[in-house]
Symmetry: C2
Subunit: 209 residues, 2 copies
């Protein structure tokens, strides 16, 4: 039986490009050539342009009028800005919704951090931080966090920041504090952890500059 | 000399509708009739639709496929969500950037709160809260705040919430704390003030429901 893809061409190109951007397939600041993408997939220019415009709306792509579309690039200041907004969201939720964090999900993540494969580390990491945000049960807060975390994921893949044993241990410590109801200690670990990530990424960016 | 308006038709319709929505000219949840708007201004449907789509992107208008465009409406839960995200931003900035708040602007606002006309109260109010956010000097944080404050302004106009003498005094007290460098007291006043606004608006919403 023929599989019919019901998603519009624009949707498909959008999803494909977004995955490329959020993984490590295209460089920060790289031009995305509309014509090349269209030819490569044997489609017309229109859905490619529409997909690129949608990505520009999400701030993952920059549309320079009369020049073209480029993967978003980040200055050092922007990286720090993004990390700070992340910190604001997570600390607020940890402080105000500590008791609403889903302990079952967290316990399951602990097992994954301890026994899972390293290559899934990033996804466990994102899931843990997201669980803290979900505890607030506030759609506006979640939206605002997810928009920012997209940029974060993008940066993160590009920076190719090596996940150290320290980072793994910090996540496990944070989980233990949540499971044991030690709110103050959890806040302290999260604060230190996010600061350390910031310093590590600053160093990476300077190295690449 | 003929004045040539260089803004595109879409831009003009967009600005006009946005002003209508953010002031008190159309009701929350009211349908925005594309054809009527086009006829009223003697233009075609296309720029009206484009403007409405842009407003939908900003979440000020809801696009119900095959039904039409409606001014966004807010459930009680959404109102609380918006107010909480506002609180998160303002408390974070007050806590971390207290000393960066522009004292000159604040002193000028104090004078306006004390001697200015009541009808400008809302604009002084927004300006004071915005100054606290600007102190962070973080473009991402500012963007995220401004997106939310648009919804806030919209709600605020609709609710027609009577600005009480209490509220004016709270703003003046907050300014005094900032000018005197009393950070803890400032945080306390801001927290109480935002909670009080929340309760007042909840009551307004229930009354209208």
């Amino acid at each position: 039986m023929m599989v019919i893809n019901k998603k519009s061409l624009t949707d498909q190109v959008y999803t494909m490009l977004k995955e490329k951007i959020l993984s490590r397939d295209v460089e920060l600041g790289e031009q995305l050539n509309t014509r090349e993408i269209a030819e490569e997939h044997g489609i017309s220019l229109m859905p490619v342009r529409d997909a690129l415009r949608r990505l520009a709306n999400e701030d993952l792509v920059e549309n320079k009028p009369r020049v073209g579309f480029f993967v978003k690039n980040f200055s050092e200041a922007e990286v720090n800005d993004i990390l700070e907004v992340r910190k604001m969201h997570e600390l607020y939720c940890l402080e105000n919704y500590f008791n609403n964090i889903d302990r079952e999900v967290i316990a399951d993540l602990k097992d994954k951090f301890e026994n899972g494969h390293k290559k899934y580390f990033t996804s466990y990491d994102l899931k843990l931080h997201k669980e803290i945000i979900l505890a607030a049960d506030n759609d506006y807060l979640i939206d605002s966090y997810l928009k920012m975390i997209n940029h974060y994921t993008m940066l993160f893949s590009y920076l190719n920041y090596k996940r150290s044993e320290t980072s793994r241990q910090e996540h496990i410590d944070l989980i233990d504090c949540i499971l044991n109801g030690e709110q103050e200690k959890a806040t302290e670990i999260l604060y230190r952890h996010l600061d350390r990530v910031q310093i590590a990424e600053d160093a990476e960016i300077r190295k690449r500059a």
